[in-house]
C-alpha cells in the first residue's frame, strides 16, 4: 500500500475550524518582496501611497530584488543568437554567424542569401530581432540599394521592391535611408518603413528651418506588395548613426535612438507603431547622465524583460547605465536600474547587442560579453583586427514568408 503524503488526524477537542480573521499587517520585508514583483508602471503609481513608499527606488535592498526579478524573467522566447561580423572600415565582406554560448570557435557560419552573393560588404540587419523567423536585411546602411526579407531557417527570401519615385520630393536628392521592419498583428501583415533624408547641400544650420528638406516617410506592406506615403511630421534634425540606426523591434513597435544635430534639442527615442501607423517620441531620461562626461556617450536600445531599455555607455568612465522605460512616450517613466562599471578597458568599446541578460560589446576589435547578473566578463574568442559586430536574437520558424498572406 502506498504511504500517503499526509494524514489528517481527527481531533475531538477542536469544536470547529474557524478561519480567524486577524488584522494581518504584513511585515516590511514581505511587502518589499511583493512590490518587487510588480510591473514598473504599478510601482511608479504606488510611489504616491506614502512618504516612505515614495523613496522605494532609492531603497537598495528593494532595488536589488527588483533587478533580480527583471533579470530572472529573461527572454527564453528567442533560442538563438546571431552575429554579423564586419571588417575594419567595412572594407571587405561581412559574415553571418549563429553565435554559440561557448564562444566563436563553436559558432556556425551561414551564407547570405543569393541576392547578396555578389557583394556583401554592407549588409545590415534591421531591428536586431527576428519576426517569425524573418530577418530584414538591407544592403548599404544609409545609401541603401536593396531591402530583402530573409528567413535563414528556410532560406526563403523576398525582395522588397523599390518605392515609387512619385512618393519622393521631386526637387530634392535622396541621400540617406533609414529602415524599420515589423509585424502588424491587426492586419496580419509584415511591413517595412522607410525614411528618405534629402541631400541638404551646404546650407549649414539653416537647413533645419527649411521644411521642404524634411525627410519623407513611406511604408511597404507585404500583403499588398506596395508602398504608400506616410504623413509623419518630424523635424529633419535627427541622425541615426550605424548602431542606433539598426533600431530595435519589440511588440509591434519599432524604435530608434535619435540624436539631434541641433544643440538645443534633446536626444530621444523615436517609435513607430505598425498597427496604428503612428510615430511617437520619448525624450531621453532626465538625470541619467549625471556626473558622467557626456562628450563620449554612446546610446543603445535593447529589450529587457519585455520592456525597452536604454544603455548609455560613458567612455571616459568605462561605465554604463541601463534605464528601463515603463511607458512609451513618457519621459518620467524611465527608471534607472543598473550602473555597471568601471569595467576594465571598456573605454574603446561599442555595445553591439544584448540577449538573456548578457550584454555584448566590442572591445579592441574583439567580441566580449558581460553577464548583468554576475557582472562577469567573458571573451568570445572572435579575435581579429578591429572587427565591428552586430549581435541580435533569433527564433527559428518554418512559416513561409508569403504563405501567411492569401
Amino acid at each position: 500500500m502506498q504511504t500517503p503524503i499526509a494524514v489528517k488526524m481527527e481531533n475531538s477537542l477542536v469544536v470547529a475550524a474557524t478561519k480567524k480573521k486577524v488584522c494581518n499587517h504584513l511585515p516590511n520585508d514581505i511587502v518589499l518582496f511583493i512590490l518587487s514583483k510588480l510591473p514598473l508602471i504599478s510601482l511608479k503609481r504606488f510611489l504616491c501611497v506614502s512618504k516612505s513608499w515614495s523613496l522605494l527606488f532609492k531603497n537598495t535592498y528593494f532595488m536589488n530584488m527588483l533587478r533580480n526579478n527583471i533579470l530572472l524573467n529573461d527572454d527564453s522566447y528567442y533560442d538563438e543568437t546571431f552575429m554579423v561580423r564586419y571588417t575594419p572600415k567595412y572594407s571587405e565582406r561581412c559574415n553571418f554567424y549563429w553565435l554559440s554560448d561557448e564562444g566563436f570557435a563553436n559558432s556556425v557560419h551561414l551564407d547570405w542569401p543569393s541576392q547578396f552573393q555578389e557583394d556583401y560588404i554592407h549588409i545590415f540587419i534591421v531591428g536586431s530581432v527576428s519576426i517569425n523567423g524573418i530577418l530584414c536585411l538591407k544592403h548599404g546602411f544609409t545609401r541603401t540599394s536593396q531591402v530583402v526579407l530573409w528567413n535563414p531557417t528556410t532560406s526563403e527570401t523576398k525582395v522588397i521592391p523599390p518605392s515609387p519615385i512619385e512618393n519622393r520630393r521631386p526637387d530634392r536628392n535622396p541621400w540617406h535611408f533609414l529602415h524599420g521592419f515589423g509585424y502588424d498583428h491587426v492586419s496580419d501583415d509584415y511591413k517595412v518603413i522607410q525614411m528618405i533624408e534629402y541631400f541638404p547641400g551646404y546650407q549649414g544650420d539653416m537647413i533645419w528651418e527649411d521644411r521642404s528638406y524634411d525627410p519623407s516617410w513611406e511604408i511597404y506592406s507585404l500583403k499588398t506588395n506596395s508602398w504608400k506615403k506616410l504623413d509623419i511630421d518630424m523635424q529633419n534634425c535627427y541622425y541615426y548613426s550605424p548602431l542606433q540606426g539598426n533600431g530595435l523591434y519589440a511588440d509591434g513597435v519599432f524604435h530608434w535612438w535619435a540624436i539631434s544635430k541641433l544643440k538645443n534639442i534633446e536626444e530621444c527615442m523615436v517609435s513607430f507603431d505598425f498597427s496604428e501607423e503612428v510615430m511617437c517620441t520619448t525624450l531621453m531620461p532626465l538625470n541619467t547622465d549625471g556626473g558622467f562626461d557626456v562628450g563620449y556617450v554612446e546610446r543603445h536600445l535593447v529589450s529587457l524583460n519585455e520592456s525597452i531599455a536604454l544603455i548609455s555607455k560613458y567612455k571616459k568612465e568605462s561605465t554604463f547605465c541601463i534605464s528601463v522605460l515603463a511607458k512609451l512616450g513618457e519621459r518620467e517613466s524611465w527608471i534607472n536600474l543598473f550602473t555597471v562599471g568601471p569595467l576594465l578597458s571598456m573605454e574603446y568599446s561599442n555595445i553591439v547587442g544584448m540577449k538573456n541578460n548578457t550584454l555584448f560589446y566590442r572591445r579592441d576589435g574583439e567580441l566580449v560579453c558581460v553577464d548583468l547578473k554576475t557582472q562577469m566578463i567573458k571573451e568570445l574568442g572572435v579575435k581579429g583586427d578591429r572587427f565591428h559586430f552586430h549581435v541580435g536574437k533569433y527564433k527559428k520558424s518554418f512559416l513561409p514568408i508569403r504563405g501567411i498572406i492569401n
Binding site: 499526509a6 514581505i30 518582496f33 511583493i34 510588480l38 503609481r45 512618504k51
Partner: protein, 161 residues
C-alpha cells in the same frame, strides 16, 4: 508514533489538528526542518504556530500538485484578500520558498491594476503626505495613473461628478 526513522512527521496546527506528513513535504518547510535537526531526541510532535488546519490543507494541495509537475495549476483565487495574507504569513513562518514565491506573486497580480487608495487599505498604510506634497508627487507620476484597465482613484472619481 512519529520518530526520525518513520516516514511521517507529525505537525500540530494552532487549532489543534494533527497532520502526519511525508518527510519530503516537511523538508520543504525550512522552519520545521530546523526544529527536527536541532532536536536532541526524536521529536514526537512539532507544533506549528500561526498555521491553521485550512492552511495545511492548501499546503498539502500545493505539494501534491508540485510533485506531479503541475504546480502551475495551484490557485488561490477562492481566497479573499485577508485569507490570502493570512496564508502568506503562515507560509512565511514555515519558510517554504517555492510556495512563498507563488503567494507573493499572487498578491502582486491582485494589486497590479489597483488604485493608490486600494493599496493603502490593503497594507494598512496611512497617507502621510500633506495635500500639497501629494499633489506634487501625483502630478509627477500622473502618466502611471492613466490606462484602460487601471482602477481610478476614489477621490478623483468623485471629483469628476
Amino acid at each position: 508514533m512519529a520518530s526520525s526513522s518513520s516516514n511521517l512527521i507529525s505537525l500540530k496546527t494552532s487549532d489543534g489538528t494533527v497532520f502526519k506528513v511525508e518527510r519530503a513535504l516537511a523538508k520543504t518547510m525550512k522552519t520545521v526542518q530546523a526544529i527536527i535537526e536541532e532536536a536532541d531526541a526524536n521529536i514526537y510532535m512539532i507544533p506549528i504556530h500561526n498555521v491553521f488546519s485550512h492552511h495545511m490543507d492548501m499546503i498539502i494541495d500545493y505539494y501534491k500538485l508540485s510533485v506531479a509537475g503541475k504546480s502551475k495549476e495551484f490557485s488561490v483565487e477562492k481566497l479573499d484578500n485577508d485569507e490570502l495574507k493570512d496564508f502568506l504569513l503562515a507560509v512565511h513562518y514555515l519558510n517554504m520558498e517555492d510556495l512563498f514565491e507563488v503567494l507573493t506573486q499572487a498578491v502582486a497580480d491582485r494589486l497590479e491594476k489597483k488604485s493608490v487608495g486600494y493599496v493603502r487599505k490593503y497594507f494598512g498604510i496611512e497617507n502621510d503626505f500633506t495635500p500639497e506634497e501629494y499633489a506634487a508627487i501625483r502630478k509627477k507620476n500622473d502618466w502611471a495613473f492613466k490606462g484602460d484597465d487601471i482602477e481610478p482613484e476614489e477621490d478623483e472619481e468623485k471629483q469628476e461628478e
